[in-house]
C-alpha cells in the first residue's frame, strides 16, 4: 500500500522523536483504513493535546485537533450530527485518563459508536515529561524525581469496567497484533478502545535508564504475555510483564439507536 496517499506530505517529516513509536501506530491505522477500503472523506480523526494528538495534523482525513482531554466530547458531537462518518479518536495516556478521564469512562458507559486509539507511553511527553496516570510506581518523571509514589491506571481494565464493547491492548513491536486489533475496533459498532504501548525514549526512557527506542522495543518483545496465558500466572510472575490481547469483545446496542428512539418519541409529541 501507499502510505503517502493518506499523508499531508507538506507536513512531513513529523515532529516525533527518533525511537518514538507513534509513527508505527499511525502507519497501522492507515493500513487498516486502506484494507477496509474506506474513503478519506468518510473518516474523521479527532485528537486532544499531546504528542499522540499531533497525529491528525499529518493525515489527509477530516481532522479535528481539540482542547486537552476533550477529544471524545467533540467526537460525540460529530458522530451524532453525522452518523455516517467513521469517527476515530486518537489520544495519549494523560489526555485520555487524566484530563479527559471523565469523558473517557462516560463515553464507554454511553457506548457511542466511536473507535478510540490510546497511545500509552507512560508519560506526558510533549509538555516536559510529567508523571501521568499510567506511569508505573517508583518510576521517575520530571515531576516525580524521587520516583512515582502512585499506582498506575490499567487503561484496558478501566475501559472494560466502564462498559466499552471492544477493548484490546498491544505493543508497537507486535505490529501484526496491532493491525488486527485496530482493524477489529474500526469495524465494531459501539465504543471500542485499543491501547497501544509505545516507547518514549526522550522523556521516559532517558530518566528511567531504559535506553533508546530500540532498547524499549526490545523490552516489549521479550516481556509480553498473552492474556490467556496470563490468566494462569501468579501476580509475582506477572510483575514487570506486559499483558496483551483482547480484553472484551461483546455486542451491545449502540447509543445512536437509543438516541434516534428519543428523537422519534419527542417528535411524535406524546
Amino acid at each position: 500500500m501507499d502510505y503517502l496517499y493518506y499523508l499531508r506530505q507538506d507536513k512531513m517529516p513529523h515532529i516525533w522523536c527518533d525511537g518514538c513509536g507513534h509513527g508505527i501506530i499511525l502507519k497501522s491505522i492507515l493500513r487498516c483504513v486502506d484494507k477496509l477500503g474506506w474513503d478519506k472523506n468518510d473518516i474523521a480523526l479527532v485528537s486532544g493535546i499531546g504528542c499522540s494528538s499531533r497525529t491528525p495534523g499529518y493525515v489527509d482525513f477530516n481532522t479535528l485537533h481539540t482542547t486537552h482531554g476533550r477529544a471524545l466530547a467533540f467526537a460525540t458531537g460529530l458522530k451524532i450530527a453525522n452518523p455516517k462518518l467513521h469517527v476515530i479518536v486518537v489520544s495519549g495516556d494523560g489526555d485520555a485518563t487524566a484530563i479527559g478521564g471523565n469523558h473517557f469512562i462516560h463515553a464507554a458507559r454511553r457506548n457511542i459508536d466511536i473507535t478510540m486509539i490510546i497511545y500509552n507511553n507512560y508519560i506526558y511527553g510533549m509538555t516536559g515529561g510529567q508523571v501521568s496516570p499510567t506511569t508505573p510506581a517508583h518510576k521517575k518523571a520530571s515531576t516525580a524525581p524521587y520516583g512515582n509514589p502512585d499506582e498506575p491506571f490499567d487503561i484496558s481494565r478501566l475501559a472494560q469496567a466502564a462498559g466499552a464493547t471492544y477493548v484490546a491492548r498491544s505493543t508497537v513491536y507486535h505490529v501484526g497484533k496491532m493491525d488486527n486489533y485496530i482493524g477489529n475496533a474500526l469495524q465494531k459498532t459501539g465504543f471500542s478502545v485499543v491501547e497501544i504501548l509505545t516507547p518514549c525514549p526522550t522523556s521516559y526512557g532517558r530518566r528511567n535508564k531504559e535506553g533508546n527506542g530500540v532498547d524499549m522495543m526490545r523490552y516489549q518483545k521479550e516481556n509480553t504475555i498473552g492474556i490467556e496465558k496470563a490468566k494462569n500466572m501468579s501476580a509475582e510472575a506477572l510483575a514487570g510483564k506486559i499483558v496483551t490481547g483482547v480484553f472484551v469483545d461483546k455486542e451491545q446496542e449502540s447509543y445512536l439507536n437509543r438516541y434516534n428512539e428519543v428523537i422519534k418519541k419527542a417528535q411524535s409529541g406524546v
Partner: protein, 71 residues
Amino acid sequence: MKKNVVIKINESWCKSCEICVSFCPKKVYDMGQFYPIVARPEECTGCKLCEKLCPDFAIQIIIPEETKKTK
C-alpha cells in the same frame, strides 16, 4: 528468497532511530554514519517488517508484480 525486492530509504525523513537495523530478521541493514545502509539486499525476503516498524515513513519496500502474484 524473493528476488528483485527494492528497498528505498528516504533519507530526508529518516531520524536514524536504528529500529530497522535492529529488528530486521535477516540483518539486511547496517548502520551508516547517519542513515541505515542496505548492506545485504540479497538476504531480503520482502517481509516488510522494517517498513511497518519504521516510525518515520522513511522505508519503502517494493516487491515487483510477478513475485506478488506467486504469493
